[in-house]
Subunit: 180 residues, 2 copies
């Protein structure tokens, strides 16, 4: 996985993929599946919705760190599996054969099998809405990976896979940040 320019990291989240979020509680690593995510800013500020109903939440809140990992379609059963068991009684990295890669700035691990990873610091938690505000601080992209199609959770137990790409860069030139 090569480093990715932080100013491009929002392009991983904006299309709305289901993501894996890793945490470390000071003792052990954990990973959860999150499909409620949003870009807040071109400068790699993101939001995710989560709360105490997720076992990872305590580690996220207390360590103030996580890694957002972007899985692709070949990982569908890992995504669903991670989302349907709990770190309270399961080592999900072992169960789902996920390879931890040590992150540079946070204790939570990156995931080798994912297309991209974004190391994040928790900036704030907007408690009335369970919105966790994250600042991306480093990003990595595996451009050598053959499968790059992301998954979109519909929320009813089905997932939509990325289909064809439509290019409107020329029409949108004036609306895009420099260098994107």
């Amino acid at each position: 996985m090569e480093s990715m320019q932080m100013g491009r990291a929002f392009t991983l989240i904006e299309p709305g993929p289901v993501v894996l979020v890793t945490t470390n509680d000071g003792n052990k690593d954990n990973v959860m599946t999150i499909s409620w995510t949003m870009v807040l800013d071109f400068s790699a500020e993101f939001a995710i919705t989560t709360g105490s109903w997720n076992y990872s939440y305590t580690a996220l809140r207390d360590s103030k760190e996580c890694v957002i990992a972007i899985p692709t379609v070949d990982l569908i059963d890992t995504v669903v599996g991670v989302g349907t068991c709990s770190g309270s009684d399961t080592d999900k990295f072992t169960k789902f054969n996920l390879t931890r890669v040590q992150a540079k700035h946070v204790r939570a691990p990156a995931i080798r099998e994912c297309l991209a990873n974004i190391e994040c610091k928790v900036v704030d938690i907007v408690t009335p809405y369970n919105i966790v505000v994250l600042q991306g601080i480093a990003a990595y992209f595996d451009s050598a990976r053959g499968e790059k199609r992301m998954l979109h959770a519909v929320g009813d137990g089905t997932f939509t896979v990325d289909g064809r790409v439509i290019d409107r860069k020329k029409m949108m030139r004036d609306k895009l940040p420099n260098g994107i």
Copy 2:
């Protein structure tokens, strides 16, 4: 467009489609393109990121109402066009041949050409992060529409179209709200 159960409306936003958001400032209607959206709750609470850089923002903040309309791939040039001009000098409904449908609970109009429409009230604006918290109050879905594939903005001027659907309802049964 038939009424859609409010408890299912999150399934329109969770997959991360680019959306059109209509407003009415008490005088005239406007519409903007928004790709930074997130589900906050199964009970149809949503977040969008926007701010004073969008002309619609004043109407959204002051009227405390909007409609989220979900466009499909056949509307790609409308989506990009709406997102690259301003209601300050353009009647976008006329320019892009969008048909207004009177909403039931808000002054902002629904859009006939879209796959679905969600009438929303502004619950809060989390100003440090430009997060507008919305409560969906009525939803409509055009099941007779042939084209149902949504668009996902990547953020670099390209858009990914919904591809194939993968069903994992059985694996996820225990995680889904009742009736979904």
